[in-house]
Amino acid sequence: MELFIQFLTNTGYYLADFRHVIMLIVGSVFIYLAIAKEYEPLLLLPIGFGILVGNIPFFKGFGLGIYEPNSVLYYLYFGVTSGIYPSIVFLGLGAMADFSSLLATPKLMLLGAAAQMGIYFTFLCALALGFLPKEAASIGIIGGADGPTSIFLTAKLAPHLIGPIAIAAYSYMALIPLIQPPIMRLLTTRNERRIHMPEMRTVSRTEKLIFPAAGLILSCFLAPASIPLLGTFFFGNLMKESGVVNRLAQTARTTIIDTATIFLGLTVGASTQADVFLTTKSVGIFFLGAVAFSIATASGVLFGKIMNLFSKEKINPLLGAAGVSAVPGSAREVHMVGLKADPTNYLLMHAVACNSSGVIGSAICAGILWSFLVK
């Protein structure tokens, strides 16, 4: 009988409190958005279900929780804390990426760089709000709008914040269609939005083959700490472009990235245990995340306008908004807003170019911040 009592006192029904309920609702909302609204389902669904899994109340010290060594979740979560999953995801992304539009219009890279200002601005805001430098850097990187990059840097600098930062990053990436368009319209005139981009030149196979090697060396010589992300990213792309290892590239962009995505999402979600997640810090992080995305978008657009002051060949400043990557969401938004202004204005390919450089840009920023703050 006392066994029965004792068991009941270990059930979730007994251990649950309002915080678990809140988190279960949050998780359900994520799942709902993923399925009903199809917002980034590949990310929101695993994370959402992970939140459910991670917030089932259980008796601590039992070897069950994601933070208890020897639990299955702990081992699966190791891929996050060690940075392995982000690195593998970048391998697959590289094997999917097509840099032709970037290679055809290199100057668009500057927009990808400009959009990174959101990272540093948010970093300063976070410091001002009293976050420690390492926390502030991890929060700032949300402005890079790259899930794996954010998770990677946070795992290295402030592992206790992986949950909230990942959730914030992915939530705002899912909300790109609501965040970016107003900012773009606010900062651009109708005429600017109507600027057409010139037809792109076709890019030779050799260029595509040299780029991954050149990109790796140039980026990582500058910021060696971005090797774990850009190393696999460019490797994946070389496998794809080379055409001589199709079976490897194919595996990288299907099974390998899918597997990493499943376990990354599930465990990141499960890492949001009510007691570690529902803190004032998380509130601050969500607020700053919104700042990060907005500033990133704005600085990209504004930099586009500045470039137009100095170059005679005008570019469409909307493209700056695609510099925040959030692949491929932001590129599509830019395209849509451009179409709104002029139904014959196809910005998609150029926006994709900014996207790619945005990915590289924020990986470099992660390297920079890491090397600033590691010591």
């Binding site: 009988m1 299907t254 390919m349």
Partner: protein
């Protein structure tokens, strides 16, 4: 130690009975909830059904703003516009997804377009009812 002695010594009876009760109770509750699920479902249907409408209005919106643009029917150009859209879907994709994306990118006569891409073998099957771009 063997037999009933061993069982009682290790509190076996209690564990066995409690265990049976709990699993019975657990699945009974689950069974009951499931039997009520279709009611919850009908309530939520509305929510999930928002999606079709919403996507359909997406369809509607750009269609409106799109002036018919014959040259797009040049498949090469069509592909250059559509391929980036599918990048996010991995190396193979389902036509309905491509269709949705194409719509939201406001290309005219999307249906016609995709069909001709299929017929021209620019989009080829990749097994499992998915398709990919001919390289």
């Amino acid at each position: 130690m063997y037999g009933f002695e061993a069982i009682s010594a290790h509190n076996g009876w209690a564990m066995a009975i409690t265990g049976v009760l709990i699993v019975m109770a657990g699945l009974a509750i689950l069974a009951f909830v499931i039997s009520q699920l279709h009611k919850v479902a009908t309530l939520l249907e509305s929510g999930f059904n928002k999606q079709p409408n919403q996507t359909s209005e997406i369809k509607a919106r750009p269609q409106a703003s799109a002036v018919p643009k014959p040259p797009v029917l040049d498949l090469g150009e069509a592909r250059r516009h559509l391929e980036p859209l599918t990048a996010g879907l991995g190396d193979s994709f389902e036509l309905q997804h491509l269709y949705k994306l194409a719509n939201s990118s406001a290309l005219p006569h999307v249906h016609l377009l995709i069909r001709s891409l299929r017929e021209a073998g620019v989009i080829i099957p990749a097994g499992d009812g998915r398709f990919t771009w001919q390289h």
